[in-house]
Structures are given as C-alpha cells and as structure tokens.
C-alpha cells in the first residue's frame, strides 16, 4: 500500500472532472484519479451540442432557457440551480471557445447554434436555436479541449487508477472527508490518497440496462462508493431513455439529427410525433418521444418483421448537410447497420442514456449527507451528481452544460476549501475495506460467473424498469435484483493475477451496478405517479400533492448485518415557476 497526500483529489477525468481540475490545479495541489485515460471518457461520445442562450442566430435569453429546463424536468428541478445553469451557460460556452474549442460558425464568424429537443422561444412557443455545436462531435471536442487545457495547466493525472472507496473520519463530532482509496490497474497495487477535498466526477451508471448508449465502463463507481459509506442517493428512479439509439445496439444517434430536420416515422411512414406533441413534434423532450415510440411499437405500428423499432428518416435532407452537420452518426449507420442514410431510413429504438439522479449536491457542488447538511470536503459534479438541474428528465444539450458549469463550480469550491482547511486524519487501516474486497474476489472459488449475473441484471432492468413501469414489474425487479445480489456473493474470477486484471475490475463494477439497480427499482416502486422519465402505467398522472419531492435513498445496515434501503424525501426548490401541465 502506498500513501499519497494532495490538497484536492478529483475522481474521474471526463468533462466535469477535467473542468474541475483546470480550476483546482490553479488554486491547490491537485491529483486526478481516473479509471480510464482522460480522452477515453464518455463525455467524448456526446454529439449534439451544449445549450446556452447566446442569441447568436435568433432572439433568446437565459430566462427562457431556465423555464425550458424546469419544464423539461417536469417541475422536479430545483429552480435556483436551473437558473444558475442557464445563466452561467453563456460564459461556459465562451470559456470553452477561448480555450480553443472549434465550434461551428455562423456566416459572420460567431458560434453557430441549432435546435434541440425541449428548447423553445418564449416559454414553449416554438423551437429555438440554442445548442452550440461542433458538427455531431461536440462532446468529443469538449473532452479534447479540456484535456488540452489540462496539459497546458500541468494537471497531474493518475491514469488507470480505479477509486473503490471514500474515506471519512469524525473530527469535532462531524464526519469529514479524509481521502479515497484506489486500485492501480497496471500493478494491482492499492493506493491511499489523503486529501482535504475530494471531487467525485466519475460519471453515470447506465450499464445496468442492456440496450444502452453508455460505455462499458459506466458502472456508477462513485455513487456506489458513497452509498456504501452511508451517504444518500437522490432521485435514482429517474433515468433517461434517449429516443434514437441504433436498433438493438443502443449506439446513440444525436437528437441533433432531428434538430437538423430529421423525422421519426412508423411502419406506415407516418410522422407519428405530430399526434403526441403538436407544437414541438420530433423535438419534444426525450421522455415524451421515447414513450411515443414505444406506444407506436406496442400498438403494432413498429417497423421490421418483429415490428420492434421505428425509423429515423434523414432522406429528405441534402447529403451536403448530413456530411457537414452529422458526419459521425451517418457513418455509424453505414458501419453498424450497412445502411446509407442519404437514401434509406435508419432503424432506431430508445436506449438507456442518462441518470438524472445521483449524489445530492448543493449549487456549490458540496455533497449532502441528508436533505441539507454538506459533508465537509466532499464535492460532486456531472452525471454522478444530482444538483438537481435535470429533475425528472434532462433536456438534450444540458448535460454538456452541466459538466462545465458545475464542474467549474465544484473545482473552485473544493480548492478554496482545501486551501483553508487542514487534513483530516486517515481512519485506522484506511485501505482495509478495499484490500479485503480485492483479495476476496481474487481468491474466491464460487461457481457464479460475472457475465451471467450481469446479463440477468441487464435483462431484468430492460424488462421491468424501462420506459413503462408498473407496481408488478418493479416488484419483480426488486426481487430479482435481490436474488442476483445473493448470487453475486458466490462469484469468482478466472484471472488471479495482479497485472491489468480487468476480469477482477469487471467483477467489482458488477457489484456497483447491482447496488445501484436496487436503489433505482426501490425508489421507482415507491413513486406512485408518472413524472418525466419515470412513467407508471398504474399511476399515469403527475401527482404534485404527494410526489412533488425528491427521493433520498439511504443504505441501512441492521445489527445482524442485514442491508436494506430506507427512503426519505426532500422538498423541491421552487422560485418563480409554478408547476403547469406539461405539453409540447
């Protein structure tokens, strides 16, 4: 075991982590621990753009953006946070441009903007051009630009260091952050990083679904570590299904395709979104479009022999426009489906995409240990966190925005805290938990296999916790996940070595997914209403009287060692917008 000491430790090197690192490196001695090389992070897979009311191509303002974000989130959004998001969006985009990001340009040389789902002029009148973009690789350009600036600022990275535990210790009667424990993939060595401030920016957990746009590595490592240490997880039942994943594979095809004029069609060639969202049509919010697609499929209007998908039609768009604005996704259709989008529609289905829930934070990025008490020294930003700016459903282009606005805020706040605080003493045997876990897994001789449990989990989640949910499907999910967690205790790995043991890594990741799947299903079962991405067929309406509140899930361990999940609730912050019926 090695011990390192830094003022600030950032866990994860996607957009939020690197945006935080750029700020915190200027202010405090910072280390970034990342499971992947920074440029491998899944921010790079984001395509369509980053929202900001620059008003470069038409009238727009951040107040309209705030409203759209709150309405998009079906009023579960904390309105003070949404206001910050929309207001600071403008500087966030300009900061990236000045860092070198090659945005697409208007004829007069300013940043170009395009339409995106749920973003409207004047509170829902018509779609507005708010998404700042770089072709259909905006996330790639953000990730590259942030990495370039990390190189420029001399940010210190520990690449392929997998953080497995959060260390806290009680001083003056308060539980404070002491550091993290990481597993070095190359050597199998355990490292303890003592730190005054820790920022979790480790991304989402979308790999517990089978059809998913998420990378294999998005396994909720940060959320799971915090949850194990008794910290709550907020709104985990809200998971976004992106309407246009490649059929069966789940690979993302940007909403920007519809922003550029693409149309969804059923087997009769009908533009079915006109029925579900007369004003915004194909550019309604993602939860609305995903439900519409599955409604078409369930009512027998799906395409193909099994009527199990619909079409994204780009054939009416000029090939030059597709080449200039959507080169990557048209290439995906050619590579993975053998389909030429110039002439043929692309088969799509909704794909698990984004966790609205996560570690609860306030607007400074401080992680909360209950409804309002921050954990001294602990911060989170990006998909791992729940501020909550996305509420029950995130708008497209608001996540690239979120990582920049709240990544920056968390980086500054963490470094400021670190420069005015002392190190908290490490707990006794700080690496004991991780050493035990790793040794147990490596030495285990049980006959359960990671692949089988993971497959069963993903199939269970796709079947029971997807776009349409009921009491029955959720109960089935809770029960089956419980069984899978029991089976998980008997897994073994084949690779017993220390060097690059990705077999062991996948086993640990599966443990995290199981924990988070359970929280998701339990939280969803208790929310007897439909709101945003959480749709209950048995409770099809939003219920503001009983459920205008955030779910807070806690892990409880009984005296006999039995684990359970306790649910509590937290009020939604409402400032100027009263909940209204949500129509697009």
């Amino acid at each position: 075991m090695k011990i390192h000491k830094y003022d600030t430790v950032i866990v994860g090197a996607g957009g939020a982590g690197m945006r935080a690192a750029i700020e915190s490196t200027k202010r405090s001695r910072t280390a970034v621990l990342t499971k992947l090389y920074p440029t491998r992070s899944h921010t790079g897979a984001a395509q369509g753009g980053m929202a900001a009311a620059l008003a470069n191509v038409e009238e727009d303002n951040w107040e309209w953006h705030t409203f759209d974000t709150i309405k998009g989130g079906d009023y579960l959004v904390d309105q003070d946070a949404a206001e910050i998001l929309a207001k600071e969006a403008i500087d966030s985009v300009l900061d990236l441009e000045r860092m070198g990001l090659p945005f697409n340009r208007t004829p007069n040389g300013t940043i170009d903007q395009r339409r995106f789902g749920g973003h409207s002029r004047n509170h829902g009148e018509a779609p507005v051009r708010r998404s700042c973009y770089a072709a259909d690789r905006t996330g790639h350009m953000i990730l590259q630009t942030l990495y370039q600036n990390c190189v420029k600022e001399g940010v210190e990275f520990y690449n392929e260091f997998y953080v497995l535990d959060l260390l806290m210790n009680e001083t003056d009667g308060i539980r404070k952050t002491a550091g993290v424990v990481a597993y070095e993939l190359a050597t199998g060595e355990i490292h303890v990083f003592q730190a005054k401030a820790v920022v979790f920016a480790s991304g989402g957990n979308g790999k517990f679904f089978k059809v998913s746009s998420n990378a294999h590595t998005l396994t909720g490592d940060g959320q799971a570590a915090a949850f194990r240490r008794g910290l709550p997880l907020e709104d985990m039942e809200f998971f976004q299904f992106h309407p246009t994943g490649i059929w069966k594979m789940g690979i993302l095809l940007t909403e920007g395709a519809r922003g550029e004029g693409g149309i969804l069609r059923n087997k009769d060639g009908e533009r079915f979104m006109e029925k579900y969202a007369p004003v915004m049509k194909d550019l309604a919010s993602r939860d609305v479009v995903s439900r519409a697609i599955y409604t078409e499929i369930r009512e027998g209007r799906g395409c193909g022999a099994d009527k199990d998908h619909v079409f994204l039609d780009l054939t009416h768009l000029p090939p030059e426009q597709l080449d200039a604005k959507l080169p990557d996704i048209t290439e995906f259709a050619r590579t993975y489906l053998g389909i030429e989008p110039y002439t043929d529609p692309v088969p799509i289905q909704p794909t698990a995409h984004y966790a609205m829930g996560g570690m609860p934070t306030n607007v400074q990025g401080q992680v909360l240990s209950d409804n309002d008490t921050p954990v001294p020294g602990l911060y989170a930003a990006g998909e791992v966190a729940c501020v909550s700016v996305h509420g029950a459903n995130r708008l497209g282009t608001n996540s690239l925005l979120d990582i920049n606005v709240f990544g920056r805020r968390a980086g500054i706040a963490a470094a400021d805290y670190a420069s005015t605080s002392d190190f908290v003493e490490l707990p006794e045997n700080p690496a004991a938990f991780v050493e035990g876990e790793v040794e147990n897994l490596r030495d285990a001789t049980g006959n359960e296999r990671v692949v089988e449990i993971r497959r069963a989990l993903q199939e269970c989640m796709d079947k029971n916790v997807m776009v349409f949910r009921t009491e029955q499907t959720l109960k089935e999910a809770v029960e089956e996940i419980g069984e899978l967690r029991k089976r998980y205790r008997a897994i073994s790995v084949q690779d017993k070595g220390k060097r690059f043991n990705t077999d062991l890594l996948e086993a640990i990741e599966l443990g995290n997914l199981l924990d988070l799947a359970e929280v998701t299903a339990v939280s969803a079962l208790a929310r007897k209403e439909s709101r945003g991405g959480h749709y209950r067929e048995d409770y099809p309406n939003r219920d503001d009287v009983n459920f205008m509140r955030h779910t807070m899930a806690y892990r409880e361990v009984g005296d006999d060692g039995t684990e359970s999940i306790r649910l509590d609730y937290k009020p939604v912050v409402q400032t100027r917008y009263q909940p209204m019926e949500r129509k697009y």
Partner: protein
C-alpha cells in the same frame, strides 16, 4: 492451444443457428506474470458475422478465458481505447465487423482472424500496450490554443473557411492506430509519430492560434516531420478517416514556406 465457445466442443456448421458462422481467432497472448514469451492462442467461436471484433473478444473473455486482457470503453469508435492489429492492419476492434475481414465458406471463416497488440509500444499484457510514450509525444507539440493580448469579452471570431482549414485534424481520438502503423516509429520510438503531428496541425492551422512558429520549430527537430517517409500507412489506419499523411505534408510545406 485451442479453446471453443458455446457448446464446449467445436460445433458443426449444421447444428448452430443459421445466421452464425464459425470463426477462429488467433490472439497474441503475453503475460509477464506467467511467462517471458508471447504465444499465439486460438479460440473458436460461433458468432454473428455482423458482430464486431470487440464482441468476439468479449465472448472469449466472458465465456472462455477471463484472463484475456484488452482495453475498451465506448464500443463505437469514439473513445479510442481498442486500437489493435487485426489481420495485420491497425483497426479499432469496435468498428470492425467480422464479415468485413473474413471470407466465409460452408459456414466457417476460411482463415483465422489474427489479433495482436499495436506495434512500436511496449506490450504490458495481451493487447494492452504502454501508452505513455505516445501521450508524451502528444504533450510535446503544445497541443493547446496559445493566444496573446487581452481576452475578448465574447467569442473569438472565425470564418467558416478558417474553421474548415483544420476540421479534419480535430477528429483525432488519440487511439494511436496511425502512430503504431508507421514503420519509422517502429524502428525508432523517438519519432514524434503521425498522431502528435496531426494534433500540432490542428493548432498550427487554427486562425486563432499564435504559437504556430514554436510548434513548427519543435517538429523541425531531427525526430520531427522530416522522418516521415510518406508510406500512407497512417492514413490507411485512421479509424476516423483523417487524411493523416496529407496533414503531415502540410506541416512540412509550412516549415519550408513559413506560411500557414
């Protein structure tokens, strides 16, 4: 050594689902914890020809041999983790479909598909190489925008034409497929390699940047652009379709004319 998928023994073509084919994957294995020597190992699978090579690697790892080690993340050609040498050519495993690299006869691939680590970087285990020298070369070309004077209040302006000038080289995902396909890089690891030059190009030809001269001087070094022998391996290898050799030629021309 031979291991088989699915039903244990090699299944005959008649008993499997009709869309599946039988393919042997010949993989270069190396684990210094076990042996100092690398060996080829064969795995035979029944697999959908529309599957990716990455799907085959996962099938082997998850069902036959958990010790098989490779990097991957996004699985659709954006993160750049899984560059490897497949049938002697550098490709991303997640962007290569089995059907595109094999000839099928009687429900089997005519020849094994060979998979090995990319060349020119030290192999650490199986298909995993040491990426540090690669990223060091990248860092050495100042891969970030350099400007002087006061920051503008709003964005810097850039015309469409100026933006288009370096569009191609902004696509780079740093997968190292180009650099590790370059014979000059194989022979001499000191050469910056195509990927670093591509990333220098991305800034040299960006109208907003003011450090073009410095980057050109870095690349004027004996291990810089002049080592390029224009073999086009890099262009062929790039999974993002970047015209890598052309970018290198443009940097060479800029060094001669000092115009960019």
């Amino acid at each position: 050594m031979e291991k088989s998928g699915d039903s244990g023994a090699e299944a005959s073509a008649g008993s499997k689902a009709p869309h599946l084919i039988t393919v042997t994957f010949r993989i270069r294995r190396f684990n210094p914890e076990l042996s100092a020597d690398a060996v080829w190992e064969d795995f035979t699978l029944e697999i959908d020809p529309k599957d990716r090579v990455l799907d085959a690697l996962h099938k082997i790892k998850w069902e036959l041999d958990g010790t098989l080690t490779f990097r991957r993340s996004c699985a659709h050609g954006i993160c750049g983790s899984d560059a490897m040498r497949i049938n002697g050519r550098n490709r991303l495993a997640c962007k290569t479909l089995i059907k595109d690299i094999t000839t099928v006869k009687d429900g089997r691939s005519a020849k094994p598909i060979t998979i090995e680590a990319i060349k020119g970087l030290t192999v650490l285990k199986d298909l995993v190489v040491d990426m540090e020298p690669f990223f060091q070369a990248y860092r050495d070309v100042m891969p970030f925008l350099v400007t002087t004077g006061n920051e503008p209040t709003r964005e810097r302006y850039q015309s469409d034409a100026d933006r288009a000038r370096f569009d191609d080289t902004t696509k780079c995902i740093l997968c190292a497929a180009c650099t590790s396909s370059c014979p000059v890089f194989w022979n001499d690891g000191q050469y910056f390699g195509p990927a670093a030059i591509v990333n220098a190009h991305r800034f040299i030809f960006d109208s907003r940047d003011e450090a073009g001269e410095q980057r050109l001087e870095i690349l004027n070094d004996k291990d810089g652009v002049w080592r390029c022998r224009t073999t086009f391996n890099c262009t062929d290898a790039c999974p993002r379709g970047i015209e890598v050799t052309k970018a290198i030629q443009e940097v060479k021309r800029a060094l001669i004319t000092r115009r960019f």
